[in-house]
Symmetry: C2
Subunit: 426 residues, 2 copies
């Protein structure tokens, strides 16, 4: 961990600089896979699955029997935990329902906005070293709440063609309509274009490696919506003398274990806290199963000792972290100053891992500084907001002259006449 003492503001950009997350170089490789799936459908999906995932199976669909059997293959404690997380996520997201509001902007001019579910959505759950069933909850709960008519899920199987039962259990719990054992670029392609087996969707959600990210970028340019751009996961902490160094070290490590490219930045108002955190880190890291990964991530991490809460928050807003932990005495007041962040954890009893799994907030969040302009996934991500207007004859009489005046000033005479021809009859 590199330590910076009281850096000048001019030094901030260099300290906060993220490594370039470059997917442009992958576009050609990824583009070819997309094209092949678009033209050859399931055959290309199966061929790429065999090539990349080393699996051999012919049935992309996970059967109802496999879904049924998942529950019996899970430990009861894990089932209970998943159900508890499910309830909290449901409770937080159900409150995001926006009722239709009708505004009478002028007498007789009634305008409203209605949230309507995106019809068909695709959820991508990556494979790799662990079964990310928590992401099934984070995407599936709002999809179902929104009322999406068709929710499909793609996830890579293991070499025997199996999908982890926790993923299947979570998929069934949230109400996913169909699960397909396919991962990588070929999964994104199948959902973007549709194949004989995998239905085409209107929007694709979910994390993935840089190939999946490149595929999502390319299909977005072709008109299929995606949840948000992606980069490596990251956490920033703001701490002071009252923070507990053991907790701070544990929080840093819980981010560092994600991957060697995980971004970890510790801001502190106290040099002593940083020193003690480093000692705690050295102790805690030794016994971690993913120690090697954490060591590599921590090597490129930074600790910054800074003067005053105001400057600390300014630095956080400049960085725009995916996760921001406020472990200071006045964390609640400080939270009011957050401008750029994905999700914020307030006080010593709110570690990031509670939000990753079960507090109820969504863990699909903007990384790579995207928090400056993007929100995390929410119910909003699964709906369109359609506007409506209905004018009475009086309403058109009231607003008509305004519309005609403006249309003519923009040299759009037919726009003016569409009003005029009606006003003549009134």
């Amino acid at each position: 961990m590199k330590i910076f003492y009281h850096p000048d503001k001019e030094e901030w950009p260099a300290i906060l600089k993220r490594p370039a997350f470059e997917v442009a170089a992958l576009r050609e490789t990824v583009g070819k896979i997309l094209k092949d799936v678009q033209t050859q459908g399931d055959a290309a999906v199966l061929a790429y699955s065999r090539q990349f995932d080393l699996t051999s199976f012919n049935d992309l669909s996970v059967s109802a029997e496999e879904l049924d059997a998942a529950a019996s293959r899970l430990a009861p404690a894990l089932k209970t935990a998943i159900e508890t997380a499910y309830r909290n996520i449901l409770k937080f997201h159900v409150a995001q329902h926006a009722p239709v509001q009708t505004i009478e902007t002028m007498e007789g001019v009634f305008c409203s906005r209605k949230s309507v579910a995106i019809d068909r959505v695709g959820l991508y759950i990556p494979g790799g070293s662990a079964p990310l069933f928590s992401t099934v909850l984070m995407l599936g709960v709002p999809a179902k709440l929104a009322g999406c008519r068709r929710i499909v899920l793609c996830t890579p199987p293991d070499k025997t063609g199996q999908v982890h039962p926790a993923i299947l259990f979570a998929a069934r719990l949230v109400g996913v309509d169909a699960v397909f054992r396919v991962g990588g670029v070929q999964a994104i392609a199948a959902m973007a274009y549709g194949t004989a087996t995998v239905p085409k969707v209107d929007k694709i959600f979910g994390p993935g490696n840089q190939y999946v990210t490149a595929a999502k970028q390319l299909i977005q340019a072709e008109g299929v919506a995606i949840d948000m751009p992606a980069g490596p996961s990251e956490v920033m902490l703001i701490t002071d003398d009252e923070a507990n160094p053991d907790y701070v070290a544990a929080d840093l490590l819980s981010q560092a274990e994600h991957g060697p490219d995980s971004q970890v930045i510790l801001i502190s108002l106290s040099a002593r806290l940083v020193e003690e955190t480093l000692k705690a880190l050295a102790r805690q890291i030794e016994t971690l199963p993913r120690k090697e990964i954490a060591v590599r991530a921590m090597a490129s991490s930074a600790a910054v000792i800074i003067d005053g809460a105001k400057a600390a928050m300014e630095m956080a807003n400049e960085y725009a972290p995916e996760h921001l932990i406020l472990a200071t005495k006045d964390a609640e007041t400080m939270a009011e100053g957050v401008v750029n962040a994905g999700s914020v954890f307030i006080g010593g009893y709110s570690p990031e891992s509670v939000g990753d799994y079960a507090s109820g907030t969504n863990h699909t969040l903007p990384t790579n500084g995207y928090a400056r302009a993007y929100s995390g996934v929410s119910l909003d991500s699964f709906v369109k907001k359609i506007t409506f207007q209905r004018l009475t004859p009086d309403g058109l009489r009231a607003i008509g002259p305004t519309v005609m005046e403006m249309a003519r000033a923009e040299l759009l005479e037919a726009h003016a006449r569409a009003v005029e021809i009606r006003l003549k009859d009134l």
Copy 2:
């Protein structure tokens, strides 16, 4: 106008097919301009402005004096109209403010979501044949309401370097912070990267030609957010025997005059209505100033006679029009069935042009079928929704076992320990 009588459902895709809106071919040209502005700043912006807009000036900034003088250069009737539209747009968008809601998902687990303005936004207003001051209102009103700290506007000047006073008047009315006389790809580049004169922004809004669209796509892939992907403007009408053919013809023409690539589709439950609309069209088109454009757009338009309101709405949802006009007896009931559309106009007294200018709804809407997954611009477009969680010791006690169970099942031990180390102290 091509007429289709009672087409089978298998024929729908061919009838509803939009011409390809291809911007990929422009990427090289556009990419070079982006790169030049990124590396050479204002010098490149000025050079490209001279080359493409044929203007010669050295000051990109519109001065306070020019902004001041705009009001005196406008007819009072136009000023009043702009102010009326402004008030309606404000009234509709202010109701979109989402209050912070705190949900206690479990005892002692407090989660909330807060809308925070995107700090710096850029509004692009195209030049061309007419001054699109209405778009200044549509983008500037929600930007200001959201509380964006810095709102900049770029628009191409005329050959003498002047910006139309209606654009300046609207910019000052909504509270834009700075106006720059620059258009095209160089304007998008200047706002995406920042130059000595034009500040870098976090998100870019506004319509434009295919070069501007390509530029927005490219800078989106580099991490600057954009409002939405774009294509030619379009309208779909659903009509029945009770619709007024003169009104229907006027509505079709008000879309057709936008450009030769405007998309116009008339669905009708009544063959008679289509026939009479065609007669009215022939009469009305003759005296239009933009007749040539409208004639070209109408040549590629379609009328479809279809059986029953249900099938008509199904066709509309399949097409996902930017604008949908419901000119039927039961338009209000019908509106409840809309799943895919940008903005909907209900009944005979609600022509599209009222929404284009002054009803209060936003006219920046998804085209090209994007209404399946995208919303029009709203207050939401100018904020991020940041989530917060704060746990009490009891809250962590309640949720801790769930988090640890799930983290360990995902093989993320450090995540579990960040909870465990705290629980030990409680």
